[in-house]
């Protein structure tokens, strides 16, 4: 409370309703927040090893710290870090192993609780999704608690958006599938039936054990040899969905023509698709939002120049550009990043912004004409602050809708390119390559190789569109599901 207001008549009133930062509000009524924090800590704790593992092992500390002189005692820090990273986690292959072999009379060996590999794997999948569901629910619970205990406003416009989304079944369907897809990408190593390195990347350097019925003992062989024996190539040589191969390995979606496990291929492929989709959308969304805001705020020649630039970009044939650049950049350092996925993301991002920009330009121009923009100018608000505070929130919703709809298109586009052999290179799994690999066997008993990835793509793209529809209806109750969904989805299907 400021001193110059204390003698004011209004000060008493003001004092009554003193507002405090959220920190103090929590301090006053800590119980709900503490319960939530405890639950959150528990959720993090069971996965602590994995989270630390990402920090310790995925970030190239050696390269980052290379230029600095070695810090004394860093060896023990490294060791401690490694120990933390190796802590057992709830969701791990080690805790719930599914790779084992069947010894007649003795049952399953080396699997979780002696369950069959199929059950052990299913248990792990259920565990992962249960954990993810709990996590999402807990985050939602934080919002509920905040609303109930700590928020001053008894109503905000966002409440209405949430309320409308709650009754939007189609949007919820999309949200569930999208979340499942994201979880699949995040937890790919845990969900996979076999490790990526062993089964797909370098099978001849990795060994597996199995019980040889003829010899009557457990023998070791390379994964590559085992793969060769379990290839799905139609006719008699086939390992279909939900079946075991001769090495007691369970294949939920069957195997590929190379004998690799299709499910492992799919979950790691989800990572590539998601990375390309999100990275390219991040690039094009930032560009689209910035151009829309500046163009709408300053109008005139600036806006016109943006129209011309976007027209020029859109006039370029995207597919040809993609083919050209992926060939030209193939042997450069950037072309090698993540087997070419980063280049694809950059190209999709650099060519995708005009479509997004056009979608949000109209709303941006509309909001720029509102009187509150004039009001902001009348009290000298900086132009960038005005754009951020008074215009961006109004176009963000549209951006989200169109971005989620475009994401499906990008996934289809990447799959299409990989199908043509131009996208993500081997050995990094990519859904389109799986479809390509199974193309010759569609009419044979190995039909699953193309069909399964196809169903996945259809489902994910539909889900992203459904989510976009849901968000749109939630943000703008007047809008009716129109043709824009198809239009936006069509935008990305260049390949």
């Amino acid at each position: 409370m400021s001193t110059d207001n204390t003698d004011d008549a209004g000060a008493v009133l003001v004092e009554d309703f003193e507002d405090r930062p959220i920190r103090e509000r929590i301090a006053e009524n800590p119980r709900p927040a503490a319960i939530w924090a405890l639950g959150f800590a528990a959720l993090v704790a069971v996965q602590f090893g994995a989270i630390a593992g990402v920090l310790v092992n995925s970030i190239p500390w050696g390269t980052l710290l290379g230029p600095f002189p070695p810090i004394p005692g860093s060896g023990s820090v490294n060791a401690a870090g490694q120990w933390v990273a190796d802590l057992p986690t709830l969701l791990s292959r080690e805790l719930v192993p599914n790779e084992g072999y069947y010894v007649p009379g003795e049952g399953w060996q080396e699997t979780f609780l002696g369950l069959s590999p199929a059950l052990a794997w299913a248990f792990r999948v259920v565990l992962v999704y249960a954990y993810a569901a709990a996590f999402v629910a807990w985050i939602w619970y934080a919002y509920v608690l905040f609303r109930r205990h700590y928020r001053y406003a008894d109503w905000t416009p966002r409440d209405d958006v949430v309320a409308r989304l709650r009754t939007h079944r189609w949007g919820q369907f999309g949200l569930v599938i999208v979340l499942a897809f994201v979880v699949m990408a995040l937890f790919a190593p845990v969900l996979a039936t076999a490790p990526l390195e062993q089964n797909i990347v370098d099978p001849y350097s990795n060994t597996i054990e199995y019980y040889d019925n003829g010899a009557g003992e457990v023998v070791e062989t390379t994964a590559g040899d085992a793969n060769r024996e379990s290839a799905s190539r139609g006719g008699d040589s086939n390992v279909g969905p939900m079946s075991y191969d001769n090495y007691d390995r369970f294949h939920p979606l069957g195997t590929m023509p190379s004998g690799q496990d299709l499910f492992t291929f799919m979950v790691f492929g989800a990572r590539v698709s998601l990375l390309i989709g999100l990275l390219s959308l991040a690039i094009s969304s930032v560009a689209a939002a910035a151009l829309a805001l500046f163009g709408a705020y300053y109008k005139g020649k600036l806006d016109l120049s943006f129209v011309l630039i976007s027209d020029s970009v859109q006039a370029m044939p995207r597919l040809l550009l993609l083919v050209l650049l992926s060939v030209v950049l193939a042997n450069t350092w950037i072309g090698g990043l993540y087997s070419g996925a980063v280049v694809l993301a950059l190209i999709f991002g650099a060519t995708g912004w005009p479509a997004l920009w056009r979608a949000v330009r109209g709303p941006a121009l509309q909001v720029a004409d509102r009187e509150w923009i004039d009001a902001a100018r009348s009290y000298g608000q900086a132009s960038t602050t005005t754009m951020r505070r008074h215009m961006l929130p109004y176009i963000l919703g549209y951006l989200l809708i169109y971005a989620s709809m475009t994401l499906g298109g990008i996934i289809v586009g990447v799959a299409g390119l990989s199908f043509l052999g131009l996208g993500v290179d081997s050995p990094t799994p990519e859904w389109g390559r799986a479809i390509n690999a199974g193309q010759d066997y569609v009419t044979t008993s190995s039909w699953h190789i193309s069909l399964m990835p196809g169903i996945f793509i259809v489902l994910v793209v539909t889900a992203f569109n459904a989510l976009g529809d849901g968000i749109r209806d939630a943000i703008d109750p007047q809008s009716d599901g129109g043709g824009d969904a198809d239009e936006a989805a069509a935008g990305g299907t260049g390949a």
């Binding site: 400021s2 110059d4 207001n5 003001v14 009554d16 004039d374 009001a375 009348s378 000298g380 602050t385």
Partner: protein, 452 residues
């Protein structure tokens, strides 16, 4: 509002009789012009929204600005708070010229002059809480500490008659009148000297209008504010303003003391405007002066007096002095009809059709003639001119006919912008050629012209 201003004026006038006038003037506007650039296909003329106005606003006074929609009053208000950049002229605020300020100087000055917008639905961002909306000007100037800003917002909410727990509500949750209070609180946040009220009550219910006007009046008393009240509701300005400026087509036609202007309007435009106010007494016999035609385009205003094309009291050239009032009126009407037709015919389609002879501009001339002059006796001298007009119309279309009529019947009204004549002892000024010494006054019969 007016009482307060008067008493204040009186109080300051007494001790410092001579120098007082300079101190009291808060805003002096001189020959202000605000044009909007257009880039039409056929014409690049700018829209002359404000076309050379000069006036002063005294400290603590409320100046009303009235006029038809589209006359430039909102643009003038926006220019005074520098939401528009003037094309030409000066606005001196407390002695400094603010018309050319930019950058940091402009931002520093802006806290002195704020605006309350017409539409409370669109003048505030609905995604911010009321507290944030009112706080924004304070944030923008980094006024004191955030905590003091919040306290100031509560103080302002209290000041405009809202409750301080409204801080965390959203604009959606308020009625139109309450929202306008929020808009007023925001305008007052920085403690400005001058506030432009751009039709602050026109979007509100009548019962709420009075409350908002009373609030504005109280705030003026309390904070010593100076207002420019833009309105098209004449009863509102009469109630609230000390002085009134009447605007037409980018020009101020008459400006002066409210009561005097209402009881004895000097300018023909003010007269027609005031005659449009309905009277509660149905038996009262008042002459309503109808306005002919529609206002001219501000892109192409009349060359003389801006009101000349619709004025029912144009100055007559000497040679037509002996025409009856009624006939002169018909001649005016005749010109108005042709002017409206000229505007309607100024399209590409008509031009093409006329060029290839499909459309005869004089085809319905007899009808026009019949409807304008049918029930009056037309002397030979006038009939000749009308016949000649028909010929010109057939040959050169409306522009040629109008040029001829202007040549024959036109006067200073059509060619010269009238000066601002002082019309009474309170310093009221009015732009009309009738105020000139050598032209008959508005209420005098034509024959009373002094130079005859």
């Amino acid at each position: 509002m007016s009482e307060q201003a008067h008493s204040q004026t009186g109080a300051t006038e007494a001790p410092t009789a001579g120098a007082a006038t300079d101190d009291e003037t808060l805003i002096a506007v001189e020959n202000l012009k605000t044009y909007y650039e257009t880039d039409g296909l056929r014409s690049n003329d700018p829209v002359k929204a404000v076309d050379g106005v000069s006036f002063e606003i005294e400290r603590g006074e409320t100046l009303g600005l009235v006029g038809e929609s589209g006359c430039g009053k909102t643009t003038l208000g926006r220019t005074l708070v520098r939401l528009e950049t003037p094309t030409d002229g000066q606005v001196s605020f407390d002695g400094t010229d603010v018309s050319t300020l930019s950058g940091d100087d402009l931002k520093a000055w802006r806290q002195n002059a704020q605006i309350v917008f017409q539409d409370p639905e669109s003048s505030m961002n609905d995604r911010l809480t009321v507290g944030k909306i009112i706080r924004e000007p304070l944030d923008s100037y980094e006024w004191k500490t955030p905590r003091e800003r919040r306290a100031r917002v509560r103080e302002l909410l209290d000041l405009v008659g809202l409750r301080s727990e409204h801080y965390y509500r959203y604009p959606h949750q308020f009625s139109g009148g309450q929202r306008q209070r929020i808009g007023i609180a925001r305008a007052l946040a920085l403690n400005p000297d001058f506030v432009v009220l751009d039709e602050p009550t026109s979007a509100l219910d009548v019962s709420v209008q009075a409350k908002i006007l009373n609030l504005l009046e109280d705030l003026q008393d309390e904070l010593g504010l100076t207002y420019l009240l833009i309105a098209h509701d004449l009863s509102v300005v009469r109630h609230a303003c000390d002085r009134i400026a009447v605007m037409y087509l980018g020009n101020i036609m008459e400006i002066g003391d409210t009561e005097r202007l209402f009881t004895d309007p000097a300018n023909p435009y003010t007269r027609t405007l005031l005659s449009a106010i309905p009277t509660p007494d149905p038996t009262a016999d008042r002459e309503r002066i109808p306005l002919r035609g529609s206002p001219p385009s501000p892109q192409d205003p009349p060359s003389g007096c801006p009101f000349s094309t619709r004025c029912p009291m144009t100055v007559r050239p000497e040679e037509w002095d002996d025409l009856s009032e009624e006939l002169w009126d018909r001649i005016d009407l005749f010109r108005t009809v042709l002017r409206e037709r000229a505007r309607g015919a100024d399209t590409l389609g008509t031009r093409v059709r006329r060029t290839i002879g499909l459309d005869d501009p004089a085809a319905d001339f007899e009808e026009i003639r019949e409807s304008t002059f049918g029930d009056v006796t037309v002397p030979e001298a006038v009939a000749v001119e009308v016949d000649e007009t028909e010929r010109r119309l057939a040959d050169g279309g409306e522009p040629a006919a109008l040029a001829y009529l202007q040549d024959r019947f036109g006067s200073d009204c059509d060619t010269n912008l009238p000066a601002a004549h002082v019309v009474d002892d309170s310093g009221r000024t009015s732009r009309c050629h009738h105020h000139r010494e050598d032209v008959a006054g508005l209420d005098e019969p034509t024959s009373a012209r002094p130079d005859r």
